[in-house]
């Protein structure tokens, strides 16, 4: 890792991803997408629904391979599952048959750490995400917010160099969501991980990120990149009252709105057809 200190954490070069649809047609999810994420950078991706944001994350994680172009992570071209990546999915992906402690210990155990040691590390992480005392509960006994905390600990315990998050807090109510956003920032500040955070919520994107990438309506490509020059450490609730926040919001919203309208009109046309 130290050898490629100057290389970006993530680099996509002219990446296109196409899928065969069940109807036999071709669906272009991502079209000649090029962007980079620096080491330690928190990068948010916003775009209208169905704009290939999740596909982009899957490409970085190595769950999908690009049809054309090149994805490289930490200086290495992605061909199979990328090592050193953590991925928090939009829907619950914690294992329902494992209790909180076992869920968090899953990663280290898969990576060959002894069960005892993995559990010790997991206990520490369970405490860090504020779930101490809930180690032996099963996910269905927890609230949505608590399950997200489990997922967060499960991901972070592997100390990923790259953290991919696909609308992780979209299913939470607004208060819980704000709490989780602040906790994410706090936990992230203790690491050197690069984050790619996909969301459809522009406020969330600006409040969390160093840079916001606006994607076009599908096929997704980069429309604009905005540097977020708000100071850290941030409190996501307070930063929203910052006048610079409002200015950024207005500027980015102009871009995003145009794409949202295109996506909306297209979806109407699809239904009419």
């Amino acid at each position: 890792m130290s050898l490629d200190r100057d290389k970006p954490a993530i680099a996509l070069r002219d990446v296109t991803k196409r899928f065969r649809t069940p109807g036999g047609g071709l669906y272009v999810a991502v079209h000649s997408l090029t962007f980079e994420v620096a080491r330690g950078e928190f990068c948010a991706i916003v775009g209208p629904t169905g704009s290939g944001k999740s596909t982009t994350l899957n490409l970085i994680a190595g769950l999908e391979t690009p049809s054309r172009g090149q994805v490289s992570v930490l200086g290495e071209t992605v061909t199979t599952l990328t090592r050193g990546v953590g991925y928090m999915f939009q829907t619950d992906a914690v294992f329902p048959w494992k209790n909180v402690l076992e869920n968090v210990a899953t990663g280290p155990i898969y990576r060959g750490v002894s069960r005892q040691e993995a559990h010790r590390g997991a206990r520490d992480w369970v405490g860090r995400v504020g779930l101490a005392g809930f180690e032996d509960r099963y996910p269905n006994q927890l609230s949505g917010g608590m399950r997200k905390r489990v997922a967060l600990a499960q991901t972070l315990i592997n100390e990923p160099a790259i953290l991919l998050m696909d609308e992780p807090f979209a299913s939470l109510d607004v208060q819980t969501r704000t709490l989780m956003e602040n906790e994410l920032l706090e936990l992230w500040s203790g690491t050197s991980a690069s984050v790619v955070f996909v969301t459809h919520d522009l406020e969330e994107a600006i409040a969390l990120a160093d840079r916001v990438l606006v994607f076009t309506a599908s096929p997704a490509t980069l429309k604009q990149s905005y540097q977020i020059d708000l100071s850290r450490p941030r409190n996501v609730t307070e930063v929203r009252f910052d006048p610079r926040f409002t200015r950024l919001y207005e500027r980015i919203w102009e871009d995003l709105r145009d794409e949202a309208i295109i996506a909306y009109e297209r979806s109407i046309k699809d239904i009419r057809l």
């Binding site: 599952l81 999915f89 592997n158």
Partner: protein, 291 residues
């Protein structure tokens, strides 16, 4: 980091005693539950009582239709003095042995087969149609062939039971593996699972719910396989008792054997439910069947 277990006001507020209305609502609920239990038993009493009365008054000829008191007497006679074909417990033991053997062999084969085909697309494509074809064969006819092949002993009954249980468990295991949430699989892969860990730490537990719910049905089918096998040709077992009672026009004997089989099946079902709770403690209790 905040602690979600801590509530802002703490739990200092004392619990107030129940009000009159709440108490009377609770009492109503109790009365209602008692009434429901009473009606439940009433239905049984009416059906069995009606049967007994019509048998005694000659409305339904007990020679053809049997008689509850006669059935009870037959069970009592069989269990105290043995059946004309030897002690009752021996027949029950033989049928149970065949059932349990068929159940375990069928379940094991079904789980392994379903899991393998669920995991491998190629295996599923190659063997899938044949398994479906096999499932379409009328199994009772296979029973006759098994008697010819394997004789009147235990093997032919076990084989018939296996052909019945295998397919149920197979299709459930297959479906269970196929329906594993792709998010869970992706999450496990990202967390570093090897293909082996993916199979046994993710796919198997995820499919376990499907597999276990098929055990209820498949134990019943193992019993059916054993009894039908005995019926087709045997020298002992509950099915053999039914066949001989039928040959002697002993209607009460047929019903008595039926009651004994039902009791065996109910006990087996209860033990599967117990197993279900032990093996899948993560599932909410409300999912467990409550009647």
């Amino acid at each position: 980091m905040s602690d979600p277990s801590k509530t802002s006001g703490s739990d200092a507020r004392p619990v107030e005693p129940l009000t009159e209305e709440e108490l009377s609502a609770e009492a109503r609920e109790h009365r209602r539950a008692r009434l429901e239990r009473f009606l439940q038993i009433g239905v049984f009493a009416v059906i069995v009582g009606g049967w007994e009365v019509s048998a005694r008054t000659g409305l339904a000829d007990p020679f053809f239709f049997g008689q509850p008191s006669g059935i009870v007497a037959t069970i009592w006679r069989w269990s105290t003095r043995g059946t004309p074909q030897g002690p009752l417990w021996q027949h029950v033991a033989v049928t149970l042995e065949e059932t349990v053997l068929a159940f375990f062999i069928g379940v094991l084969m079904g789980v392994i087969g379903g899991f393998a085909l669920g995991r491998s697309r190629t295996l599923a494509a190659v063997f899938g149609p044949y398994v479906r074809m096999g499932n379409a064969i009328p199994r009772v006819i296979l029973g006759s062939i098994f008697v010819i092949w394997l004789g009147l002993g235990m093997a032919s009954k076990v084989a018939l039971g296996v052909t019945l249980t295998f397919f149920i468990v197979f299709f459930n295991a297959f479906q269970g593996v196929r329906e594993v949430d792709p998010n869970l699989v992706n999450n496990a892969r990202i967390l570093g699972a090897s293909p082996r860990q993916l199979s046994f730490d993710v796919m198997l537990p995820a499919a376990l719910g499907w597999i276990i719910s098929s055990l209820h049905t498949s134990f019943g089918f193992a019993l059916v396989g054993a009894v039908v096998g005995e019926f087709l040709g045997a020298t002992q077992g509950l099915g053999y008792l039914v066949a001989t009672a039928q040959g002697a026009f002993n209607t009460n004997g047929v019903f008595a054997a039926m009651v004994i089989m039902s009791v065996v099946a109910l006990i087996a079902d209860a033990s599967v439910t117990w197993l279900e709770r032990r093996l899948t403690p993560w599932r909410p209790r409300t999912l467990a069947r409550n009647f």
